[in-house]
Symmetry: C2
Subunit: 667 residues, 2 copies
Amino acid sequence: MNQITRIDTDAEAAMATAIRVLAMDAVEAAKSGHPGAPMGMADVAAVLFNRFIKIDPADDKWPDRDRFVMSAGHGSMLVYAVNHMLGYDDMDMDQLRNFRQLGARTAGHPEYGHAKGIETTTGPLGQGITTAVGMALAERMMNARFGDALVDHHTYVICGDGCLMEGISHEAIDFAGHQQLGRLIVLWDDNGITIDGHTDLATGTDQMARFDASGWHVQAVDGHDREAVARAIQAAQSDARPSMIACKTVIGFGAPSKQGSHDVHGAPLGAEEIAAARQGFGWTHAPFVVPQPILTSWRAVAARGAAARAAWQERLNASPLKAQFTAALAAPDAGRLRHAMRDYCAKLSVEKPKVATRKASEMALEVVNAVLPNTVGGSADLTGSNLTRTKGMASVTPADRSGRYIHYGIREHGMAAIMNGIALHGGLIPYGGTFLAFADYSRPAIRLGALMGVPVVHVMTHDSIGLGEDGPTHQPVEQVASLRAIPNLLVFRPADAVETAEAWEIAVTEPTTPSVLCLSRQNLPLLRMDAGDENLSRQGAYVLRDTQGARDVTLIATGSEVEIALAAADLLAPQGVRAAVVSAPCFELFAARPQAERERVLGRAPRIGIEALIRQGWDGLFLRPGDGFIGMTGFGASAPAPALYRHFGITAERAADLANQLIQGGK
Amino acid sequence: MNQITRIDTDAEAAMATAIRVLAMDAVEAAKSGHPGAPMGMADVAAVLFNRFIKIDPADDKWPDRDRFVMSAGHGSMLVYAVNHMLGYDDMDMDQLRNFRQLGARTAGHPEYGHAKGIETTTGPLGQGITTAVGMALAERMMNARFGDALVDHHTYVICGDGCLMEGISHEAIDFAGHQQLGRLIVLWDDNGITIDGHTDLATGTDQMARFDASGWHVQAVDGHDREAVARAIQAAQSDARPSMIACKTVIGFGAPSKQGSHDVHGAPLGAEEIAAARQGFGWTHAPFVVPQPILTSWRAVAARGAAARAAWQERLNASPLKAQFTAALAAPDAGRLRHAMRDYCAKLSVEKPKVATRKASEMALEVVNAVLPNTVGGSADLTGSNLTRTKGMASVTPADRSGRYIHYGIREHGMAAIMNGIALHGGLIPYGGTFLAFADYSRPAIRLGALMGVPVVHVMTHDSIGLGEDGPTHQPVEQVASLRAIPNLLVFRPADAVETAEAWEIAVTEPTTPSVLCLSRQNLPLLRMDAGDENLSRQGAYVLRDTQGARDVTLIATGSEVEIALAAADLLAPQGVRAAVVSAPCFELFAARPQAERERVLGRAPRIGIEALIRQGWDGLFLRPGDGFIGMTGFGASAPAPALYRHFGITAERAADLANQLIQGGK
């Protein structure tokens, strides 16, 4: 507990007012934005920061800082106002004046990486609270590894009604309650208002009872009674369960004619209303002016944090775990992993295992998890199918968080957001599995991870109609295309055990790009017989089998269809057709290669793409509209995999026929 | 209440056993599938069907039938076994013998449209229960319109732990509780087991308390005590709230060595275990043989339903509302809508409104909603932004369900699934709005609607960086591509008020394909000056402005960028460059046109695509790799829209420059 006992309550009230005024001014200047939440939650924020939060603006990456997540991301001006007054050196008043303008750090919603003190990007509702669950879990996992002296911080969340209506909030609440994440404290801005009007238009859930049902400690307070808020936060800190504090607030508090209504939620208040609000606050200063005494109060928070950080630094320096702790927070040892992977691939090229790439993933993970002690695996209740748990990985439980395997439950979306939170927290490298078809459930969190640039590995098995009998609901036909559409995301579809290992090596060492590994259910032969000296998957696509003499056709394939491309080339050879085979495990990496290299790999002969998925995304690899594609044109069906491949015509015979047609057509 | 008072309890027990044995046999024959849930829930299903459910297998589309949803879709063999024994004429024993085989109606998961008596496709967890909420809402809305004589049925759901862990279940539960959908009865298969093991690996939520917190009627029973189950269903029917009955069951009940463990969840039991189970059941019949007395019991359910249907038919025949009721269930009057739209478009071509396409959508909806009395609108709490509510649309509330506007709350995913349920129920045509970026949240339900072929209209506004200041979290750059990737989904991005009207006309009359309307936040001029005699958007893409003489370049654009394409053509004209402009509001409809027509529209000159989104999906429209694209290559930014268009170079000037480059390059 880090409460300060003597509080100058007038000064604290002024701290809150300053948040309100800055929010009004910035939204007015931008002519857009959301004043309602910052004004409503200003008292809560003032108490939280003034009395509790442990951060040092001079070192925004200090590992043992408290994490503050503004899950109601539209209330971004609360964050910017606070961070300005705390004295973050990248948040001067010009940033606030340029709220929502091009190039400013003060984006419409808080963007991780745009400014210091923003722990995660929020805006899409429900993401913040769930990401915070990941942070709070990571804190306890790191604590289990390094003890109270080095890891002992809280995760605070401000969330609104929207966050609690979104489905993902259930996944967050259920998971956090189960894991007893007592360091997580959620402050619910209970203002009874959403964009369309009163919350009773659409919801009647008793949130206190709901959180209680999932094992949380719950309290309700007047969100404008700062002493009550302080007592509640203190009680929350003392309870072993995660805490939810329902803060009854008036949205847009202080806007005399608009407060308490949805008019104040997401639009500028207007000059007249702002003038009246200023008068009500007794605030006589010009726009974007905060008087020194108030700044002094806020800077005291920073000073308290700086002292805490100095004490922590001393503990770290004295700790026998210092080297280990520092290593956990550093980039993974890519060199060591390269060595281990080379040895492993050499072994593969001798043993030539015919395994599903999901199995190959498990084999590669044995290497990865041995070399990198801070990977943490998990699955959305498909461990035996995703094969994400390597030998000796103990479960992370409320009683013992020293384990490395997380049972995310049947919560694909929550898993992805929690993994974002773990990665953002630092010290651990998260990966987690589900079926590729259910990437759709995780998608908003995958996207947010890509936008933030956090290194998370999404293991997605059962990656095509090759999963067979479960049928079209479970067969991804468009998910790979839709994932390739997300910027800053590496989507791998490896063809064999070697490419799977290469994909893991890249994914787990990428510092600022999340990855998706699309893995087969069905067995695939080893195709890459080189000893793995070079990670060819880094090229995105490469010539797996070249021709003797000029190419007649190039067959480009990914994953399970590379085997088919090779078989087609074998069919074509006796017909005198020289077919090169290109394996393309990662379109994004290939797109980043120099144009000349790409042309060399793909060649000038007619090109045929083979992927048991839809065509979208392939035409960019083709040379002319006549180039061919063999894949899916609609949803799959329920049947054994071999029957489906025949039914949908994804066969070596058809590829060979198409090659002959293209070659004839070109003559 | 339709309980039968005298129950032959031995006969009912045998009805349950038959489900178990058929599930074991079919999974064994298929060598894959899930015996655990059908065996565990067989008693509950026997009670539900034997004593309560009102269906007539001879008329599987009877509007007043009860709806039964197997939300735990992996337990599909329960459905197939029941439907076989009920006597659905398309579910003979050969279908069960061919469980999960190509061409059989007995897909791995229940597929809507594959066999009679399957009310919705399930498998992706949480979808069934939420779709059922839509059905139950539609039932009450239709009841408000047509009274108890014509609309008076229940919606029953079997769901598992997985369904209740998925986030979407929260949206379903909160919404159903708020709307007091008393005809909805959820039977939770409370077996304590998921794929990874015991549920306490990942969840500790008290489900009874959770449902209670959202205003549900909750009960807990022994799921193998059939009298207790019957009493609970009866009590549920009597309560005005939606009901959840926690049925404590043993997964795989009757499999002597595997029951109660996750080993029985999703794999064949094996010959030995099946033999032992048969012995325990006292079941001496060969595989896939159900003795006549048991069939007779099941057929009595069908006979009861047939009598109920006959009585209903008499009520309908005598009802003054017959014509209206019949019309509501028939296809929408496309002819009348065409006439109204033609008049409306003629007016537009005179008035030339410069409005955002979201505003144009509202204007078109005034026409649609006037002509089609059974459309029901809604929004995920963005009514004023999505502009989905036309004049006089009253809210659907628990007290009065005669309205036409649904407050879905901040529940994009739930909204999409509920809309699927409304459409599946029949009688109402649902549309609902959110921001396009949050199509990601709805995606699993959008996909399921496309797979089922249910006519739902997803209104997605704020469709590009053109939304401005809200920034990259809210700016869809890849969502249009990812939606275009979903099979059987029409994605419209109209350029002006006329195309918006055309898109609505197509979307709302499509019988078996859902649609997404991607609409701008920013104002756009009217570009189509023809009087709207023909719906040109039906062609998917068409020449909006042709050239005099041979084309030098074709500029292809969608939505807000068609204006830019026209401006680029204007810039090029004085330079002597003849640029045709093609508007392409719907790629899917264009792809379905004859090749010759497509070539005619796109021309042989160099092509340039302009869309303020990523390139994926465009290359298929291009003629040669050198063809150009102007759009986004990554995430957006927070700034006013005009600044963003300049910043990302999506301008007429850049398009004109690129055109000149391509033309030079081609010479």
